[in-house]
Symmetry: C2
Subunit: 359 residues, 2 copies
């Protein structure tokens, strides 16, 4: 019950250990086509370019930034936690100019501030924000932020690492352009893959580039040659065959449950957990209306030995919870309720174990 990797579905671990076949084998190519369709469902998009980057979420993030930014581009970056800061780092390393919109850790991105910064910077071409901040557990209003960007002719880059599968994320309806996620959060698949979807506008922007993408490995125009369903697949890099089996399986589970049911389950388990945590006297970092059900950041009582408590939980109860990250290090814990972990038995275990250890 940490901030990820989450508990993996047993069926996903089974799928993972299926015999490895060639990454150009017709059977495997067939599975990839299914995987694309399942990812489109999870993202609620019709984007043709919907794939899994062969590396963790951080590489998915970088894939979006290096493909969409050219040196000199002005990018508005919203920063209300660790991952917004990492976005800024990406912009700079692409030779872009990052205009920061800062919000306090634990607060959602302020729509008003973004509106102001956009009107102050009419030449900005991209708006980048984190939908669900894994470092604080705050969810931001992706729909409104995207609207602001669209009204000003900007494209969006959206971090959906922790949101995909856990809370509503409607890529097409909200008109998001470049969205990346991770396999190891609410999909309850093994870590190591990053689902990415790019809108036709994003693809257009990539095709119009004047400079080559600085990363060969993450150059999505090359990757497309392998993932594209049309004609012959061309080799780009060796696909992580077994991890892709696992992602396929986790998405089949999500589709069978139904996205809306999965969102509802995360919400219900969160209410149970939050209620219990508050009874234990723990207070949430995030205000009620912006809380992510799948990532519960709570301040621990003063005088508590943070590491000792987490060690007792791990050794005595086989239970992992996450330490605070960045501004919350040494102040808060992060309790995940992601994917397969969002079950009553986990909530009960966590509350009882915490109650006992904190006595």
């Amino acid at each position: 019950m940490g901030p990820g990797p989450s508990d993996i579905y047993p069926q996903v671990l089974q799928a993972l250990s299926r015999p490895t076949i060639g990454h150009l084998d017709p059977l495997f190519i067939g599975m990839m086509d299914e995987l694309k369709a399942l990812l489109k469902y999870a993202f609620q998009t019709e984007n043709d370019f919907t794939i899994a980057v062969s590396a963790p979420g951080s590489a998915g993030m970088e894939a979006c930034f290096v493909n969409l930014i050219e040196p000199g581009d002005k990018v508005i970056v919203c920063r209300n936690g660790v991952f917004g800061d990492r976005m800024k780092e990406n912009v700079i390393r692409c030779g872009g100019e990052a205009i920061l919109v800062d919000d306090e850790w634990g607060k959602p991105v302020s729509v008003e501030k973004v509106q102001q910064v956009i009107s102050d910077n009419p030449d900005a071409v991209l708006l980048a924000f984190v939908h669900a901040e894994t470092s604080t557990g705050a969810v931001s209003d992706a729909k409104q932020l995207s609207q602001l960007a669209k009204q000003n002719g900007m494209l969006t880059i959206v971090d959906a690492v922790t949101s995909l599968g856990g809370v509503p994320l409607l890529v097409d309806e909200w008109q998001l352009d470049a969205v990346y996620s991770g396999s190891q959060k609410c999909l309850s698949c093994v870590p190591g893959l990053s689902p990415v979807t790019l809108s036709p506008l994003a693809i257009e922007r990539i095709k119009a580039r004047k400079t080559p993408v600085q990363s060969w490995f993450l150059d999505q125009s090359l990757v497309l040659g392998y993932w594209s369903g049309e004609g012959k697949r061309s080799y780009h890099h060796t696909a992580p065959v077994n991890s892709l089996y696992a992602l396929h399986e986790s998405l089949v589970i999500l589709k069978n449950e139904g996205l809306e049911n999965a969102w509802q389950r995360h919400k219900e388990m969160h209410i149970l957990l939050a209620d219990g945590l508050e009874k234990l006297g723990l207070t949430f970092v995030v205000e009620k209306e912006s809380r992510l059900p799948q990532l519960n950041a709570v301040y621990f009582p003063e005088g508590i030995d943070d590491a000792a408590v987490r060690q007792q939980l791990l050794e005595g109860y086989n239970l992992e919870i996450g330490a605070g990250l960045g501004a919350l290090a040494g102040k808060a814990w992060r309790i995940g309720l992601m994917g397969y972990a969002a079950r009553k038995e986990n909530v009960a275990l966590c509350l009882k174990a915490l109650e006992t250890v904190l006595k």
Copy 2:
């Protein structure tokens, strides 16, 4: 029996599906320390910086290039197949200047040509070459090439994707500086990880950089904070936990067999296979003295329907062999004898199936 992913050891698939634990869990950190020690054995190095990049070999390649090159650096790149060409692409995307040393596909890198180009370019700072070209099956003399570089104060970047575990690769003895490999070739682990080792000289060069590494995900000074054994591990990205279990297991198998025995086994199986292939009238792309035992590129007879034969092998015999890549596309097959696949039963199956299908 393609050019990779190779057959995976059954124990490796079992290890892969062990329950996922947190990437900062003390148990997992302990396994990573063992993994580092095992990688050092496989690479025959004492380099402190010996890790697995959380992505396929192409990302391991890029990790070496983006960390060692700064804009304007002159890099001598040896090109005798697909992967040398990819190295050139990496140099350019890092803002470096690539000086090419071209050799025919199927030939090893010419030591004489490299010597000449080095003396013509005394300001070049790096020499990059492929130890074992997966596109042709030619092995180059890494020891001699490294000597030339050292005599001229240059560092080396070496592609050992297909050589690691299959033929002698002595990183310290040969004084190689940045070496990357892949999990899915002679280690017979699943694809998706890239073992990388950096010499103290390479680390020194990275520390002396004047510009930031253009990739955040592949910035090895940040990655080191997670893999380093000293003190607290800091989070960089979520490690691909299960794939690392698998890599650990495959390296335990290699250590138990013994590196020299593994090299010998690859050689013996290659002799058996080569003998049989020549009896079938197939001729090797590479001269005898430069042949890689683990990657056998042979021209197929004229008038043969390449794709049809490979399909017959796949459907009738459950046997994959690789198509030609780049200059060898439509002219040659690539038959792998990598890791667990380098067994008598595979050689026998391959020879008999080919004999039948080619009749």
